[in-house]
């Protein structure tokens, strides 16, 4: 249905767009005497986790200063961030759901994907642990225990990267999530943590948002992610993707690539590594490697010997 809408709007707007694109291109080309990108705007859509933790401001301020550009960051959740980019309303996306990213690239909307950083997910809940999940070996075991005891679970329910991961864990646990004990809020991670905290529920959270909000909350970590030796299933890798200028010719591709170059550079990676909240590191840089993973540039499954991770 959304495709029909888009086609309809494209047809409707085609004339206007064509007419105005000429003017814009003319205006931009008017001054070619070595002018830089100063004054231009990069629109970045991203997840609430990078935004709400404050990392993004930390990364963007030096980039804005260096080039004299504005970075308009729109925090939406992975699903919505990619959808905005599909419509050509963003120049670059920073998200964390590889399956959705791969789909985006396969459809031709995204190019030059780079691994950016990672952190992990943790299963948090009330300290008295009514479902008895503390010390579970795996996330699936913990989820199964929550479902069995019908303890309250608060879900993002918003097609975000975290929500995508949560659904994957339910699937692996073989649980049909639903019923009174399962509540979807449709809101960002911070808000979901607030809801879980107020109602003594469990939730799946990225470690960064949980740590940045821990002082406001009574929730404790019951199942750790891989950063603290927990299961690999709870890994949370972030990628950054430029919107394909061949699909949307008015995206700011040059600036998007400058931004990707910056955040994956030693400087950008150092800023990610050094960023802390409440004295704890929230994100771990992943772009620089002695042994780069070429799978980062293409959808997973391209390599013939590619094995399930």
């Amino acid at each position: 249905m959304s495709i029909q809408r888009r086609e309809f709007l494209t047809a409707l707007g085609g004339g206007t767009v064509a007419a105005l694109a000429g003017c814009t291109a003319f205006g931009k080309g008017g001054d070619d005497s070595g002018a830089g990108v100063a004054g231009e705007t990069l629109t970045l859509t991203t997840t609430t986790s990078t935004y709400d933790t404050g990392l993004l401001d930390e990364l963007n301020a030096p980039f804005q200063d260096r080039y004299g550009v504005a970075v308009d960051a729109v925090a939406q959740g992975t699903g919505a961030a990619l959808e905005t980019a599909r419509a050509g309303d963003a120049d670059v996306v920073m998200v964390h759901a590889r399956s959705l990213e791969d789909e985006f690239i396969r459809e031709g909307y995204g190019v030059n994907r780079r691994d950016l950083m990672f952190n992990d997910f943790v299963v948090v809940g009330p300290e008295d642990d009514p479902a008895g999940i503390d010390g579970s070996e795996s996330a699936t075991e913990a989820f199964a225990a929550i479902a069995d005891s019908e303890a309250l679970f608060v879900s993002r329910g918003d097609n975000s990267g975290t929500h995508t991961k949560e659904l994957l864990i339910w699937e692996e646990a073989g649980v049909e999530s639903g019923g009174d004990w399962y509540q979807e809020t449709g809101q960002g991670m911070g808000q979901v943590l607030n809801v879980a905290n107020q109602q003594d529920g469990y939730t799946l959270s990225d470690r960064g948002t949980y740590l940045s909000q821990r002082s406001e909350s009574d929730l404790v970590i019951h199942v750790q992610g891989p950063i603290e030796g927990g299961p690999e299933l709870l890994a949370n890798p972030y990628g950054i993707i430029a919107v394909n200028p061949a699909v949307h010719d008015d995206v700011n591709y040059d600036l998007a690539m400058a931004y990707i170059g910056y955040v994956t550079s030693p400087e950008g990676q150092r800023r990610i590594e050094e960023y802390t909240a409440n004295g704890e590191q929230l994100f771990y840089p992943e772009a620089l490697s002695e042994d780069p993973d070429f799978q980062q540039y293409v959808p997973e499954g391209w390599r013939s010997d590619d094995t399930e991770e």
Partner: protein, 237 residues
């Protein structure tokens, strides 16, 4: 939460007026709402006059439509404006998505029905004798209209305030079309008081949210007071 309220009071006294972040948010809120309401008023008054005094077929339908528009859900307006200004939409070439202009468009759409509807009620309640007298004295249609507007000024001021109240306190559509953007340097681009409160609450920073909420209340009260003074023509009654 109660302890939080007490904590926020000293914050309110010192923090917001110094902070560039808060000042820029207030500026964006006022800019968007005031421009939208000004444009709405310019569009609404002629409509109210025509619908109020002209006799034409379908007049009841037009009136009903205006009244229904007052209850139009703001998130739906936001969604429709997003479709219109998105790169794929009919206005895509103007690059309006995630800008103040897009927010003004949606606020305009939201504020126009209440301003038109309440103005319409105000001008139709002006005594016919006033119009007759103005016309008898040889006034043109414009003169008659101006006399009616002058007579109905309290009602029209109420209409503008209702429109302003709807615009400034609205969160759904400005979030969708504006994107709640502030730069890394803490200067708001499309972040308004309402969307900032939503963001702060999402992050669990309730004291900052409360300070912004108090500012929003103050702002609404201040604009109301200012319009009431204007309506009195600067004189005390």
């Amino acid at each position: 939460m109660i302890a939080g309220t007490a904590d926020a009071l000293p914050l309110l006294a010192e923090f917001p007026f110094e902070s560039q972040y808060v000042r820029s948010i207030v500026r964006v809120s006022l800019h968007v709402s005031l421009v939208a309401v000004a444009l709405s008023t310019l569009a609404s008054l002629p409509i109210a006059m025509v619908v109020g005094f002209a006799e034409f077929p379908g007049k009841r339908l037009v009136t009903a439509t205006i009244n229904a528009g007052m209850g139009f859900p703001s998130v739906v307006v936001g969604l429709l404006v997003l479709f219109a200004v998105s790169n794929q939409g009919p206005l895509g070439g103007l690059n309006l998505v995630f800008t103040k202009e897009a927010m003004i468009i949606s606020q305009f759409v939201l504020a126009t029905p209440p301003i038109t509807g309440i103005s319409l009620a105000a001008v139709t309640s002006v005594d016919d004798a006033v119009r007759d007298a103005a016309r008898a004295l040889g006034g043109t249609r414009l003169d008659v209209a101006l006399v009616v507007v002058k007579e109905a000024r309290y009602g029209i001021a109420t209409a503008v305030l209702a429109g302003f109240g709807r615009a400034i306190s609205e969160v759904g559509s400005v979030l969708i079309v504006g994107g709640n953007i502030a730069g890394a340097d803490g200067v708001s681009k499309t972040r308004t008081l309402t969307t900032a409160i939503q963001l702060e609450a999402r992050q669990g920073r309730y004291d900052t949210a409360m300070v912004l909420g108090a500012l929003l209340l103050l702002l609404v009260l201040a604009v109301n007071a200012a319009v009431v003074r204007l309506g009195d023509g600067g004189t005390l009654r």
